[in-house]
């Protein structure tokens, strides 16, 4: 089935972080504790899924008919930013618990390359609506898996015997590189 292979492809093989370099900044910044990483993953999944659907619909229903496709970048970034503001406000008003665990990562997602990257990629790859929705689900799930694994590894690295110059970000980057190697190994699967 085309959709299943698309899902597996985007989640693992062309993983958004380790192969397309989209969400690297949060990977390094928000991955110290696994529980926080998981919360960030939930927030990102929700935002990217809704954003990819909304931007797709807006592109094909508004921008293309009115022949203003040159406004795609501005449209996407404004839609994504408004969506994040709206979701954050909604969480603040309705559920303080969810806001405390997930909502703090929402402002970070606005300038996250991943959201805008997925929206633009859906258009340039010419996906249908269902494919764009699947991509909007597969990409952040892949991101969540990677950031969770990364957080658990980093927890162990904190107490490991790392050389002085490599402590902190350098060893984290090299770990990411090794993870990327592992994923490249299954590139022939899809």
């Amino acid at each position: 089935m085309g959709l299943v292979s698309l899902f597996i492809g985007l989640t693992f093989v062309n993983n958004v972080v380790l192969s397309k370099f989209y969400a690297v900044c949060p990977l390094l910044g928000v991955s110290k504790k696994p529980k926080n990483a998981l919360n960030m993953g939930y927030a990102v999944t929700f935002v990217i899924f809704v954003a990819s659907i909304v931007t797709y619909v807006l592109y094909y229903q508004v921008l293309k008919p009115l022949k203003i496709t040159y406004l795609d970048l501005i449209t996407f970034i404004l839609v994504i930013a408004s969506l994040v503001q709206f979701v954050e406000m909604f969480l603040k008003k309705t559920s303080p618990e969810i806001y405390k665990s997930m909502g703090v990562y929402l402002p970070l997602i606005t300038t996250n390359c991943a959201v805008l990257g997925v929206a633009l990629d859906n258009i340039s790859a010419g996906y249908s609506f269902i494919e764009a929705a699947v991509a909007g689900l597969a990409v952040p799930i892949g991101f969540t898996i990677v950031i969770y694994l990364f957080a658990t590894i980093r927890e162990r690295l904190e107490i490991a015997n790392v050389p002085e110059s490599f402590k902190g970000t350098p060893i984290a980057l090299i770990t990411a590189g090794i993870m990327a190697c592992a994923l490249a190994g299954i590139a022939g699967l899809v």
């Binding site: 380790l18 192969s19 397309k20 370099f21 989209y22 969400a23 690297v24 900044c25 390094l28 040159y70 406004l71 970048l73 501005i74 970034i77 404004l78 930013a81 606005t110 300038t111 996250n112 390359c113 805008l116 990257g117 633009l120 990629d121 340039s124 050389p163 002085e164 110059s165 490599f166 402590k167 902190g168 970000t169 350098p170 060893i171 984290a172 980057l173 090299i174 990411a176 590189g177 090794i178 990327a180 190697c181 490249a184």
Partner: protein, 216 residues
């Protein structure tokens, strides 16, 4: 010489990639060759200069509560213009940089400098800051792509961005021993990790020297 300090700060002490760790997404993705690195660096430099100058000119007019939305709109417009210009004048570069040209919009460097510097300082200072940061970014991606291309393909090459068939220089140092891992995503992480480790090594050495001097 305060003006010179503003400019120099962006190059080394507060280098956006190596010290502030901003804009890593694009720097890891496009550093597969020197041509890409220079093209992206110049694009970021242009957007940074224009956005800093425009925001600095408008800083008294923009209401304080809606600063960030206005900055985002200005930066998005500038990036779209740069993207269309690159599509027209440097098509080969546009193809190879791909989606990372529009992703300059969410590059933390540009919004960060606009928010922390350009909205509070005069036009000339903002221009110097933008030039320093932009050149620092270009320098950083050049270093990363230098290592990646040299070890990954065994040689270096530079093409004219405006006319992809014109070669400025191209030479091979060692063809058979190239480690092609470095042209792939894994190599990008490893290269940046090693460069940051080297910089941390220098910092640690400096801190130890300072401690020894104080101890005496």
């Amino acid at each position: 010489m305060k003006k010179i300090d503003i400019f120099k700060k962006g190059l080394f002490v507060e280098n956006p990639i190596f010290v502030l760790l901003l804009g890593l997404c694009s720097s890891l993705a496009i550093t597969t060759s020197l041509t890409n690195a220079i093209g992206m660096g110049i694009a970021v430099l242009c957007v940074l200069i224009m956005s800093n100058v425009i925001i600095s000119l408008l800083r008294k007019i923009i209401p304080n509560e809606i600063r960030i939305p206005v900055f985002i709109v200005i930066i998005a417009t500038l990036v779209k213009c740069v993207q269309m210009l690159m599509n027209a004048f440097t098509p080969a570069l546009y193809e190879s940089l791909g989606v990372f040209i529009p992703l300059i919009v969410v590059n933390c460097i540009i919004l960060g400098r606009a928010e922390s510097f350009a909205s509070k300082n005069g036009v000339f200072d903002s221009l110097l800051d933008a030039m320093g940061m932009g050149l620092g970014y270009t320098f950083a991606v050049l270093v990363i792509s230098f290592f990646r291309e040299l070890i990954g393909t065994g040689g270096l090459s530079l093409f004219n961005p405006f006319d992809a068939s014109q070669v400025i220089f191209q030479f091979e140092v060692f063809g058979d021993y190239a480690v092609s891992l470095f042209t792939q995503p894994a190599g990008a992480f490893i290269t940046l990790g090693c460069i940051l480790a080297f910089i941390q090594f220098l910092k640690v050495k400096k801190a130890n020297k300072a401690k020894k001097v104080e101890g005496k």
